[in-house]
Structures are given as structure tokens and as C-alpha cells.
Amino acid sequence: MKNNMKKIIEKFKVVHQFLSHKSPYLFVSPYVLLFITFIVIPVLAAIYLSFTYFNTVKSPDFIGLLNYIQLITNDQEFMQHVLPNTIKYALIVGPGGYMLGFFLAWSLSQIPHRLRTILALVIYSPSMTAGIAMAVIWRIIFSGDHTGYLNAFLLNLNIIEQPIQWLQSPDHLMNIMIVVSLWGSMGVGFLAMLAGILNIDQELYEAAYIDGMKNRWQEVFYITIPSMKPQMLFGAVMAIVNTFNIGGIGVALSGANPTPQYSGQLIVNHIEDYGFIRFEMGYAAAVSVVLLLIVYYFSKVSWRLFGEKG
């Protein structure tokens, strides 16, 4: 009885709080509503659909774990090409781009303000081009006949004898994707790390040198990085997300999904291939869930490295 009363009073309190202080809810509700509609529900729907067979014509049939089993045991393209490609691409563009971003930000912090601003702008600007929209530049540069810029350049130097079909060649497509992605990966995370380095208290360095710090290596590892952990974490999360978000670039460059002999096929393209070309939405959803789990796992790892609370 007493417990019930307590519960009723609790509930009443919530309602009362809501009515007398409704403005916080008014302030957050537009964001929250859109957030739920376009982010939360799609993620939940992906999880649900991944357990079904769904071809958009008939309503989804529940088939349990079959999609996942199919993915692991029976999808040759996924196991032989898509997964190894994605791992290779993600490891180079993710951590590689991140370390490059930190290194560039740190170098920029060592030069005077005006020059730094100009160079930072130059380094940041490729990321504004958002990979896919600018694939046109790369298609002209890597054009496959002898009028292609790279081909002409290499022919001219006698490095190659025949023009190379860069974007259609399974040997080169992946490397070109990596170069193009790294080129465009100095984005928000890079700016955050630059701002973080510039905001470190000068006296920390001074004190450390008095305490016997000897060189720049020690400076970076004992002062710079520990003093800007929050920005390092932000940069890491941005690097991971960016890596997977621009993963569609192989299709944009080669102009075909699947890419030539699956050489540039990444998980994101695999999802589109099944979802929007073959209309096997349930299977595509299962691949989506796997991708979200991979992203989540990598973010957790960076949380471990730089987060202040685990």
C-alpha cells in the first residue's frame, strides 16, 4: 500500500514537472523527433529486417539468423573481396589518416599564425569536396587512354610504355581509392586537433623542460597528447566515421557497382548492391548491422585509448 502510494506520487511528480516546466521539452522536441525518425527508427528497422527475408514486394518473412549465416558461410564475394577490401581500406585510411592528421596539425602549430591559417585551409579544403561529388576530377586525372593526365605524365617520363586503365584495373583501383580518401580526410577532426594543440597551456611545456624533458618526442607524448585527450578522441571518432562514410568512392571512381572484379568493393557498396540493385533488403540490412557493429567497435577502442571515463 505504502509502496503503491509512493509510485503514484512519483508518477504525479513526473507529470507535474512536465506541466510546470514544459519548456525544456519544447526546446528539445524538434531535434529529438527528427533524430528518432531518421536515425533511431532506421537503425532499429535495420536490426529487425536483418532477421527477415524481404524483397520490397511482399511483407518481410521472419527467417531468424539465416541472413547472417548466409553472409558468413555462403557469400563468396563478401568473404573473398568485400571484407578483406574493407579491412585493408579501413586500416590505412582510418588510423593512417588520423595519424597523418595529428602530425600535420602538430607541424602547423609550430609555425606562425598567418602562414598556418593559409596552409590549414589548403589541407582542409579537399575534405569539403565530399569524395563522391568530386570523383569527376579524379576520373579526368586517371583517365585510361593516353590523354589521361597521369598516363601522359608517366609516358612522357618513359616510366610506362602503354597507357594504363587505372580505374578499371583491379591492380590499381584500391590504391587509388586509398590515395583519394586520404587526400580528402583532413576534415573536422583535423581542425579539432589543431585547435586542441594550440590551446595547450605554454607553461606545461616550460615546467616539463625544467623537470628534465629532453626533446620533441617526449614533448609530444608526455605533454601534447595527454593534454588534449578530448580532442584526440573527437578526432578519432570523426576519422572512423569518415572512413566508412566515404567508402562509396570505389563505385564513384570506376563508375560501376560492383567495381571491376570486386577490386574496390567495400561493405557500403555491398549494401547498396543488395539493397538497391538486387532488392534483397533483408540481406542488405544484415550487412548494415554488421557495418554498424564494426564502426561501434572501433569507436569503443578509441574511447579506451583516449576517453576519461571508460
Binding site: P30, A45, V136, I141, N156, K214, F234, M281, S288
Partner: protein, 292 residues
């Protein structure tokens, strides 16, 4: 060595010890800028230079012919390029304005107000920083179909209004505003709305500028909306049109390549201008960007 040399981070003026950094920063910056400079030259090349052999990096006789072709070109369904440009500008303006309003309102509540679910909302938003949009393309498509937004103009706007990074940055920025300021206004009888409008908004302009840039980039360069959620050509945007130019012509037709270069220049320049105008404010915001 061993002694502190003073002012190595953020130096006030040039010193010869900085030369070693410039030795790799300058070549690298030039290398990174090359493709962008290339597209500028390419857009102004006349036909004979576009396909000259050997190809030239620089333009000899600059011309506006590619832009003229582009503007007088119509898509296969007869929609003029200017229509796509108008759609893009209109949609971009809507997304920028409303995403600033929505995320600053939410950021204010999450930072300075007390209510249930506050911690939960922020926590979920922080997890959503890792959200990879294209991963859930399929269910997103289904949700949009269920709501009946297919071929509706607002499908360009609504899904792009929530930018988890944007809300995150704004909330961190508002955290820096002292609570005493808000309490003083409350004692003077200010309503929550007038606190938001008169105190918070003017103080967080740098964060707003950053969100404006983020949302600009997400909508101006967006191709997915036009290709997945829109079937009527007249409601599609410039980014999409550009994409079709590139894939249709496949680098083969001479005029097509010039137009593709001209249109990528038109796509890129607004990005650059907006960032140059706002770069100082962006750096101010980024200083508070850390995840704690």
C-alpha cells in the same frame, strides 16, 4: 638541448628553426591543392585544350565556353541546369537555417535546463556521432516511403536537419557560458525563450557558424536524396545533375568533360567561400570540441 627554448607551439614570428617544418608542409600543401587548382584550370579550357595531346595542366586561352554550355544544357528529360541550381540553393538555405535553430534549441536545453531524460538524450547523441548514414540507406528509404515523403520536396530537408556532431559541438560550447548569467536573467523575469534568444544565441555565434558549415556541406554535396528518394527530375539538385553528367558522358564526349569540370568548380567554390568567411569562428568552436 635539455633547456626550454620558449614559444615553440604557436610562435609569434618566423624563426629559422621552423624551416624544417616548412620543408615538408609546403610541398605537401601544394600536392594537396593540385587537384583543386587543376579543376579551376580545366573548367576554363577551350575544347582543343581539353583534349590536347600531350595534356596540359595550365590553361593557355581561358574561355567561359564550358560554363555557357553548362547553363544552356538541359537534362535528358528537358530540365534546364538553372532549375537544379535553384533547387540546390533553396534546399541548402532551408537546411542551414533550420538545423541551426533546431540544434541550438536542443543544445540550450541539454546544457542549461533540468529535465528528465536529459543525460540519456545526450548520451544517445554522443553514440550517434558514430552513425554512418549510408549504412542504413535501406531502412531509411522504407521509413521515408512510409511517411509519404518520396518525391516530396521536404525529403531534401528533414532527414538532414539532425547533425549529431552539430548538437554535440553546440552543447559543449554552451557549457562554457556561466550559469550566473542565466540565473540573473531569470531573476529579472526573463522567460526561457527570451534567455535563449537574447543571451544564448548571441554568445554562441562561433558554434552556430560551425553547424552552418557542417550542414552546408552535408546538403550541398548530397546525392543520395535525389537519387534514392526523388523520382521527378524537376525536384532533383545540382549535385545529382553533376553526377549524371559525369556518368552519362563517361569522359568520352569532349564537351561533356568541360561541363563536368565547370560544374565541379561551381560545386566547390561555395564550400570554400563559406569556410574562409567563418574559419576563425570554426576554430573557436573546435577548441571546445573534445569528448570528455
Amino acid at each position: 638541448m635539455g633547456a626550454y627554448h620558449g614559444n615553440r607551439i604557436n610562435p609569434k614570428k618566423f624563426h629559422k628553426s621552423q624551416i624544417k617544418f616548412l620543408m615538408y608542409l609546403l610541398p605537401l600543401s601544394i600536392f594537396m591543392a593540385l587537384p583543386l587548382i587543376f579543376i579551376v584550370f580545366h573548367a576554363f579550357k577551350p575544347l582543343d585544350e581539353l583534349f590536347a595531346f600531350p595534356p596540359r595542366f595550365f590553361v593557355k586561352n581561358p574561355t567561359l565556353i564550358n560554363f555557357k554550355n553548362l547553363f544552356s544544357n538541359t537534362s535528358t528529360t528537358g530540365i534546364p541546369m538553372s532549375r537544379y541550381l535553384f533547387n540546390s540553393i533553396f534546399v541548402t538555405a532551408l537546411v542551414m537555417i533550420f538545423s541551426i535553430i533546431i540544434s541550438s534549441m536542443a543544445g540550450f536545453a541539454l546544457s542549461k535546463m533540468k529535465f528528465k531524460f536529459k543525460a540519456l538524450i545526450f548520451e544517445i547523441n554522443t553514440i550517434a556521432l558514430m552513425f554512418v548514414g549510408i549504412a542504413v540507406g535501406v531502412p531509411r528509404f522504407l521509413v521515408i516511403k512510409e511517411i509519404g515523403l518520396i518525391d516530396n520536396f521536404f525529403v531534401h530537408v528533414l532527414p538532414l536537419l539532425t547533425i549529431p556532431v552539430g548538437l554535440f559541438l553546440i552543447k559543449q560550447f554552451i557549457d562554457q557560458i556561466p550559469n550566473s548569467l542565466i540565473e540573473a536573467a531569470k531573476i529579472d523575469g526573463a522567460s526561457d525563450f527570451s534567455i535563449y534568444w537574447r543571451i544564448i544565441l548571441p554568445l554562441i555565434k562561433p558554434a552556430l557558424a560551425t553547424v552552418a558549415i557542417l550542414s552546408f556541406q552535408s546538403v550541398w554535396n548530397n546525392i543520395e536524396t535525389s537519387s534514392l528518394f526523388i523520382n521527378m527530375d524537376s525536384k532533383r539538385t545540382l549535385a545529382f545533375y553533376m553526377q549524371t553528367l559525369v556518368t552519362l558522358n563517361n569522359n568520352n564526349t569532349v564537351a561533356g568533360q568541360g561541363m563536368a569540370a565547370a560544374s565541379s568548380l561551381i560545386m566547390f567554390v561555395p564550400n570554400l567561400i563559406i569556410f574562409i568567411i567563418m574559419q576563425r569562428k570554426v576554430m573557436d568552436t573546435m577548441a571546445h570540441s573534445g569528448i570528455k
